[in-house]
């Protein structure tokens, strides 16, 4: 107990000394703090930003349904050199015939469906028109499932709607807001490029993903879409759904194999199509954030190292400036440990102070991303904790030598020091 309260009063004395020393050398202290703050800021800022991105992405990466993947002509996210782009552009389109053939031959998938989209602005109901191109999608009866949307009202497409290319449509809620602000849309006819389509259903609102609305679309039967909206660049997406997570890999392998046969890809050559899955989107995203994390990590390691050296420097100066004071304290009974503790406290306090500033600025800065993406703010307590722990370690690591020097000063020599 006595031991504890002694430690306690020494720590309080160290705390007091630290504040005094910082107050007396404001500019010098602030410059030292700045190094720590920048180091902590960069890592906390980036981690917070990534955390907000992750939380927004994880909640939105169910853009595709579960256990589904899509075969497209070109990848959703294209990262390649100048040659690669042309190679992808030269790929053959995926046609409705490809879809029908693979649908007939594939044994494993729960379902195979087809999807394509284009931008279309010429959509109206009476005097109401769209200001901005909507996503016009050719779909089959599985399309809602493929895009992970649910009907709010009305009915889905039937196989007959598709087979007979009926003039029917399902609307996303954003379209509804514009064309039918006060009216029940079901059974009404909207005009797309001047041709009437009867509204048979509307979907539930999904909100935004990656800063874009997912509700601004119009679905029509794929058969109609191919007749009226396809051109020589039209390439369809074929959506596969596996029976279960366990069957996912096998289903994908089968689809790839069949697709290669159907498109006559010679053995040994690369696929002339791309596969898009939730997993792949996640992986691409993780690779992207991983890079940023490593970069931010190295920036802050360097900044913190420099800051640590700054702290060591300022502490050495501080010890030299206060040799006399150390002598006095020793003469009136301070032990080596008292002096060591006091100077260590000062170093830790300096770095902690810089750390707090860095954490606050970092969380604030990182959450700018949250505001931009319109997702809830994130306070990464774990990273804030690590940041502060690292600051303490830096304070101890770089403060121990100056403190040790102070503690081992000879009292008589120090008292004589002018």
């Amino acid at each position: 107990m006595a031991k504890f309260s002694h430690v306690n009063s020494t720590i309080r004395e160290g705390f007091r000394m630290a504040i005094e020393a910082i107050r007396q050398n404001k500019l010098r202290s602030i410059l030292t703090l700045l190094g720590i703050s920048i180091g902590v800021f960069s890592v906390i800022g980036v981690m917070t930003a990534i955390r907000t991105l992750e939380s927004s992405v994880n909640s939105q990466l169910d853009i595709l349904g579960t256990n589904t993947f899509t075969i497209n002509k070109s990848p959703a996210i294209q990262i390649h050199g100048p040659g690669g782009n042309r190679k992808i552009r030269q790929r053959k389109n995926i046609t409705y015939a490809h879809y029908e053939e693979i649908k007939r031959k594939a044994k494993l998938p729960l379902r195979v469906s087809v999807l394509d989209g284009t931008g279309e602005r010429n959509i109206r109901y009476k005097d109401k028109t769209l200001k901005k191109s909507a996503e016009l999608r050719g779909a089959d009866e599985w399309a809602l499932r493929s895009i992970n949307a649910y009907l709010a009202d009305g009915r889905n497409f039937t196989p007959d709607d598709i087979r007979f290319a009926r003039n029917v449509t399902i609307l996303g809620p954003d379209i509804l807001d514009i064309l039918f602000p006060f009216e029940d849309p079901l059974g009404k006819a909207i005009k797309i490029k001047g041709i009437d389509y009867t509204v048979i259903g509307v979907t539930e609102r999904k909100g935004q993903a990656f800063g874009q609305s997912q509700d601004y679309f119009v679905l029509i039967p794929i058969s109609l879409y191919i007749q009226r909206f396809s051109n020589r660049w039209t390439s369809l997406g074929i959506v596969f759904e596996a029976e279960s997570a366990d069957m996912y890999e096998k289903t994908m392998d089968e689809a790839i194999g069949l697709m290669r046969v159907i498109r006559k890809v010679p053995v040994g050559e690369e696929n002339d199509f791309s596969i898009l899955s939730n997993e792949e989107l996640m992986e691409t995203f993780a690779g992207f954030t991983g890079g940023i994390k490593i970069f931010a990590g190295s920036v802050s390691v360097i900044a913190l190292l420099v800051a640590g050296i700054g702290i060591m420097n300022i502490m050495l100066v501080s010890v030299t400036e206060r040799i006399k004071e150390i002598g006095i304290r020793k003469a009136i009974g301070a032990t080596r440990r008292d002096i060591l503790t006091q100077f260590l406290m000062e170093a830790i306090f300096l770095s902690q102070f810089g750390g707090v500033v860095g954490v606050i600025l970092g969380i604030a800065g990182g959450n700018v991303v949250a505001i931009v993406l319109n997702v809830p703010a994130v306070v990464p307590m774990d990273w804030a904790f690590y940041g502060m722990a690292v600051c303490s370690l830096i304070g101890i690591g770089f403060g121990i030598y100056p403190a040790w020097r102070a503690a081992n000063l000879d009292p008589i020599e120090s008292l004589r020091f002018e």
Partner: protein, 235 residues
């Protein structure tokens, strides 16, 4: 009852670039409680070295030092610090106060190292400052005080832990004669209250306050006389 302080064959040598300086060269000295001793001698004779030795700031090259029966020359750093803190009050020629701290705070610091609670610290420090007549200067910093007042703060700090002995190395050396007289009045009355005091001085009239005068020369005791013809300025 044991002696308060007993030095036997105490030597303190310095090695200055290969040459040995014998700052203390065989000191035998016994000090009893409530003695009032002055140490005199020419510059460089070893007065300060002896005071630092007695004050446990320094350790002997050779010899036996007993403080209240404990062997100081065998103590480690922490034990020495503890003796300095609890048993010894040191007053320096140049005051040696913490410049950024108030008088009260300066007097409080030894109590921090003595592990005494905040409220008790304040109480003791105020009492010590009252005893040296500084009750109205508690919250002044050293640069807001006169030399005499600063030395009184230093005396209060030396006394605050109720030490067994008060050591003063030329306590009036940096003061004008009027302030010097004030300081000596305080030391006299402390002695009257039962404190043991050793002071170093160059001035005969300061030394005359003491009951015993030790003369040093070349690190040895040349003369050790009981005076008893005490001159008191007034009281």
């Amino acid at each position: 009852m044991a002696d308060l302080i007993s030095l036997k064959e105490i030597k303190r040598y310095y090695d200055v670039g290969g040459e040995i300086v014998r700052a203390l060269d065989g000191i035998d000295l016994i000090i009893e409680p409530n003695e009032y001793i002055s140490i005199m001698g020419p510059s460089g004779s070893g007065k300060s070295t002896l005071m630092n030795m007695i004050g446990c700031l320094d350790t002997p090259t050779k010899g036996v030092y007993e403080f209240e029966g404990e062997l100081v020359h065998e103590m480690d750093d922490n034990q020495l610090a503890s003796i300095r803190n609890r048993k010894i009050g040191f007053v320096f020629q140049t005051f040696n106060l913490l410049p950024k701290a108030t008088a009260l705070r300066n007097v409080e610091v030894p109590l921090i190292y003595a592990n005494i609670s905040k409220s008790e610290r304040i109480e003791k420090a105020e009492k010590a400052l009252n005893a040296v007549g500084l009750h109205d200067r508690m919250h002044h910093k050293p640069n807001e005080l006169s030399g005499g007042q600063r030395q009184r703060v230093a005396i209060a700090r030396a006394l605050v832990n109720d030490p067994s002995i008060l050591l003063a190395d030329e306590p009036t050396g940096n003061l004008d004669s009027k302030s010097g007289v004030e300081i000596m009045k305080i030391l006299d009355s402390l002695h009257d209250d039962g404190n043991t005091i050793i002071l170093v001085t160059h001035e005969e009239y300061i030394a005359d306050h003491a009951d015993r005068t030790i003369n040093l020369f070349d690190g040895k005791i040349k003369e050790d006389i009981k005076t008893n013809k005490r001159i008191r300025v007034s009281s």
